[in-house]
Subunit: 113 residues, 2 copies
């Protein structure tokens, strides 16, 4: 093979130390972005951008992914033309202990109710 799938397109991620609580909350206050996080948490792995169940246009979704990435919530990387997304759960847990998990749990609580 030796066909390097390595993407020329790279994505910039902040260190979790650089993200502020303000940034994190601004990212998670949007219902669409919380839906993304929720679906990622349920998937327990990565999902490509196109596989999310949200009611917004593609360009809007791109915007939401950018916000989540800049807030340190998700990690993204390209696989061919598709972009994969994964929660940075462990890192966020280290940065703001219990916060992301409590938020995901709260969202789940409401969804079940």
């Amino acid at each position: 093979m030796a066909r390097p799938r390595t993407s020329p397109r790279t994505v910039e991620h902040p260190s979790v130390e650089e993200v502020s609580l303000q940034q994190l909350l601004e990212a998670l206050v949007d219902p669409v972005r919380r839906a993304v996080v929720s679906q990622l948490a349920r998937a327990r792995g990565e999902m490509s951008c196109g596989t999310f169940d949200v009611q917004v246009s593609r360009s809007t979704l791109t915007h939401h992914f950018n916000v989540l990435r800049e807030a340190g919530v998700i990690r993204q990387y390209y696989v061919g033309t598709t972009k994969m997304n994964a929660l940075r759960v462990d890192e966020m847990e280290e940065r703001f202990p219990g916060l992301l998990s409590a938020l995901v749990a709260a969202g789940r609580l409401e969804a079940d109710a």
Copy 2:
């Protein structure tokens, strides 16, 4: 007609069950409101409206208190002309376990850093 008494000004509070996660996050995404919550948490009791250390006008502060109250975060009651504020910690803990405490802890983490 039997008029309701005018002397004790009463304040309406939602039940924590009525509060949505969306409402809670919208309330806590504002830095001024988080400062209020933070100072209340540190005080471990009630504080009158005028004793908070925030950089906004009185009318703006009133608005922030309303948002926090409607989100179920604080309980308010009048004592003479002053209005007291207290965190509804136990109730919020029951509604969204771990969330408020993780947020307060996160804010403290950042403040110390």
